[in-house]
Amino acid sequence: MSSTKNKDQTELIEDHSDYLLSFAMSKLKDIDLAKDLVQDTLISAITKLDTFEHRSKLRTWLTSILNRKIIDHWRKAETRYTDPISSFFDQDDSKRHWFLEKQGGFDDETVVTKMEGAETMVELQDCLETLPEKWKGIVAAKYLEEKESEQICNDFDITPSNLWVIIHRTKLLLRDCLKNKWI
């Protein structure tokens, strides 16, 4: 292997590995899995570096490879065990109105003080960690990557109506979690 190529590789890892790990952890819960996927991404990127066409930024290209690997992981995981999403849609109709039984929402005064507080973001992160992994991934796809709904449905293999239900359920879980922290 030529030394310039070696230098490229080292730079690639130094410049992008932490960014890729942060990206992976916005969508996954398991840090070891995230590290493995980043390693796989870097290896396949280095193998394919000659085919990189500089039409996009290197980081964007790397992120798209990593994203593909994360999606593959979800698809494989889905065939291995019953996913929280499918088990949710299987549940019987009597539970469909469960959120009506919940006592109201946030209290207005609390919201005003919490909106500006720095610790609110930490609390929100804790609450995101309690979500099923795929739901956390959907939140990241929507709010971090700002993807269109069609793209999210495609990546996660769900229908648009599944997506609205998941977002709705996610928000209810986040509300409950934050309310508990804000008491």
Partner: protein, 80 residues
């Protein structure tokens, strides 16, 4: 008449897609008579704001340790 579940889902769909006038009116009417859904709408807006704020500076940071980076470099060298 649409039920609460459908109204809530329409509220979320409305953040991505343009809703029809008929749908918007159905939501407005429902929120007038349904306290849990009115609360949900308000909280959903708030959580939306919080999530946008949370991600405006990118994802929370994670880092590889120096040792892990060295392992990464070795793994990349070995596999090619």
């Amino acid at each position: 008449m649409r039920n609460c579940e459908e109204i809530s889902n329409d509220i979320e769909r409305g953040r991505y897609k343009k809703l029809s006038v008929k749908e918007l009116i159905a939501i407005k009417m429902h929120l007038l008579i349904c306290r849990p859904c009115a609360d949900y709408k308000k909280d959903s807006d708030l959580i939306d704001l919080l999530l946008q704020k949370k991600y405006e500076n990118g994802a929370p940071k994670y880092e590889f340790s120096e040792e892990e980076k060295l392992n990464l470099k070795n793994a990349c060298n070995k596999d090619i």
